[in-house]
């Protein structure tokens, strides 16, 4: 499984330090220590600029408001115009996110580590399966 020479890497927008570290060689990682909702908003702004959403923003069944972490893949370069399915999905995801209040303002370290791991595996499944093909 080798990466195409010279091909631009897809962007991983994440607030999960574990995913940022682990996938640094496979994607253009844009890490920020912000809220899950802010990650969705950053992704939305990319979609508005014409980038395509590659993974579902509501990956996993852990609700927004429970896990603080989110990693989302978007295409490396903006495409020709707006990708409508991407738009619909990201905007509906933000609406959905806003239905869930933050439940745990203080999460113990070991639980944070578990949340990071689950978020990481959700993206790993997608990345390792798809990085060899388009």
């Amino acid at each position: 499984m080798s990466l195409k020479e010279g091909a631009a890497l897809d962007k991983l927008i994440t607030n999960n330090p574990l995913a940022a570290k682990d996938f640094a060689d496979r994607c253009a990682v844009e890490y920020a220590d912000v809220s899950l909702r802010d990650i969705l908003v950053r992704v939305r702004d990319y979609v508005h600029k014409g980038h395509k959403l590659l993974t579902h923003p509501l990956s996993g069944s852990i609700k927004p408001g429970e896990t603080p972490y989110k990693s989302i893949l978007v295409s490396a370069a903006p495409g020709q115009g707006l990708d409508l399915p991407s738009l619909r999905i990201i905007e509906d995801s933000i609406v959905t996110c806003d239905k869930f209040p933050i439940k745990y303002p203080h999460i113990p370290e070991h639980v944070l580590a578990d949340f990071q791991e689950v978020d990481r595996t959700l993206i790993a499944g997608a990345l390792y399966k798809h990085s060899s093909s388009k």
């Binding site: 959403l53 590659l54 993974t55 579902h56 923003p57 509501l58 990956s59 996993g60 069944s61 852990i62 609700k63 429970e66 896990t67 399915p85 991407s86 619909r88 999905i89 509906d92 995801s93 609406v95 959905t96 239905k99 869930f100 439940k103 745990y104 303002p105 203080h106 113990p108 070991h110 639980v111 580590a113 578990d114 949340f115 791991e117 689950v118 595996t121 959700l122 993206i123 790993a124 499944g125 997608a126 399966k129 798809h130």
Partner: protein, 426 residues
């Protein structure tokens, strides 16, 4: 494929020196089961307990629920590709310990979910308050990764169910039902007047704690495919899904898939249950497009007049559901979808994360955000440590009087999207 299922009604469960099943009473040899579980060196300790309907008992955090079954005649064994070699099941005869269940609990990660109350308000929302449960609470060896632990726990639960099921091998069932799934052409010839109906089951398949296995294969690795519904009754599909307690499908749900049962009940009378299709719910959007394309292709290829589509889990599967529905309607096949809702605690928010005009026939398992107050119960199997941390719990939701305030989403099976329950919403 023709499967006879013999249902043995379980009326009580007790620990005993010797395992047996007599007059509906399931006698469990605690030491033997413990020893069997500890053969897996990843598990350091296990505590076995019993929870019966009506008892003041709360089980949490629940990982999986499994019904004991045994293959009496015909090829393969129960849970093929996982506990036994890969061999096509779904024909011959299978015995079921109806009314009994194995419930697994244990800390896999630092946040977890799944409440089964055997009495009180919570009991009304979970089907497992009505089963006689053998509950296993696991502790792993130190340093075991979450992946390995999930795997160990999943296998342990299946082994327990298989061991209990074995006790019913020679028992005369209370009821025997025959389920027959005909080859496509034969079915069409036999029921030329009846509409051809299919079942599209969407399986959760996203990653750690979010997976489903079919004959041992991780469903996210598979394309949409076909299966005989009788295979499902023999344990071809098992749950590795531990998240979103209210709308995940436990292995028990798969074994007793209500859509399969109700389609079989109508089969030959008002419809011809012609095919079952299984598809996945992956994270990658390209996968979602591909899998739903494939679903619609199979539906068209099988010339189905109508399908029921069931969902599993929260959030992104709404996208798979709508894609499947839209594409299947587009090939001219009528659909009914089964889902649940996250309409907010006051019921006023947008229920689904996706929508389309073609989804005009929806069955709902209810609003998972509805808040319920569960009374203090005398005994807790597992731990309440995570009640604060489970989906649908709130921080500091343990009240002074010992009652807990949770959303329905914390209760195992409460808003099931196979249509297992009577709960609905308008």
């Amino acid at each position: 494929m023709k499967l006879e299922v013999g249902y043995i009604d379980i009326t009580d469960i007790q620990f005993s020196d010797k395992a047996s099943l007599q007059d509906g009473v399931l006698y469990v040899d605690r030491d033997a089961i413990t020893a069997m579980i500890l053969e897996d060196e990843r598990i350091r300790a296990v505590e076995l307990d019993i929870a019966k309907p009506g008892e003041s008992v709360r089980i949490t955090p629940v990982k999986d629920v499994i019904e004991p079954r045994v293959k009496v005649e015909g090829p393969g064994e129960i849970f093929p590709g996982v506990l036994s070699k890969v061999q096509t099941v779904g024909s011959g005869r299978t015995h079921v310990l109806r009314g009994a269940a194995v419930v697994t609990t244990g800390k896999i990660v630092g946040f977890q979910e799944g409440i089964i109350d055997m009495t009180g308000l919570g009991a009304e929302y979970t089907p497992f308050s009505k089963t006689f449960n053998l509950v296993a609470n696991f502790t792993p060896v130190d340093g075991l990764t979450a992946h390995d632990y999930e795997n160990a726990l999943r296998l342990a639960g299946l082994k327990m169910a298989k061991a209990l099921g074995e006790l019913g091998r020679e028992v005369e069932p209370n009821e025997v039902k025959t389920y027959e799934h005909l080859p496509v052409m034969q079915g069409a010839e036999k029921y030329p007047e009846l509409p051809r109906v299919g079942y599209v089951q969407m399986l959760q398949s996203q990653g750690l704690m979010h997976d489903t296995y079919v004959y041992g294969v991780d469903m996210k690795q598979s394309l949409t495919t076909m299966i005989s519904p009788t295979e499902v009754l023999d344990g071809a599909i098992i749950s590795g899904n531990c998240v979103s307690a209210c709308d995940k499908n436990t292995t028990y749900h798969h074994l007793n898939n209500p859509v399969i049962h109700d389609l079989f009940e109508a089969h030959g009378k008002t419809l011809n249950f012609a095919a079952m299709i299984i598809t996945n719910e992956n994270v990658y959007l390209a996968d979602k497009e591909r899998s739903s394309d494939w679903t619609a292709k199979l539906v068209e290829y099988l010339d189905l007049d109508g399908v029921i589509i069931s969902q599993e889990g929260f959030g992104n599967p709404d996208t798979d559901l709508i894609m499947n529905c839209k594409k299947i309607e587009a090939v001219g096949t009528r659909t009914v979808i089964i889902t649940d809702e996250y309409a907010g605690r006051d019921g006023t928010s947008q229920s689904l994360a996706d929508a389309d005009a073609s989804a005009d026939a929806v069955v709902t398992g209810g609003n998972a955000n509805q808040v319920v107050v569960l009374p203090k119960l005398d005994k807790v199997i597992g731990t309440l440590d995570y009640v604060d941390k489970i989906a649908g719990g709130f921080e500091n939701n343990l009240q002074e009087d010992g009652s807990i305030v949770v959303e329905l989403q914390a209760i195992t099976g409460a808003t099931n999207e196979l249509g297992f329950n009577r709960l609905s919403a308008r």
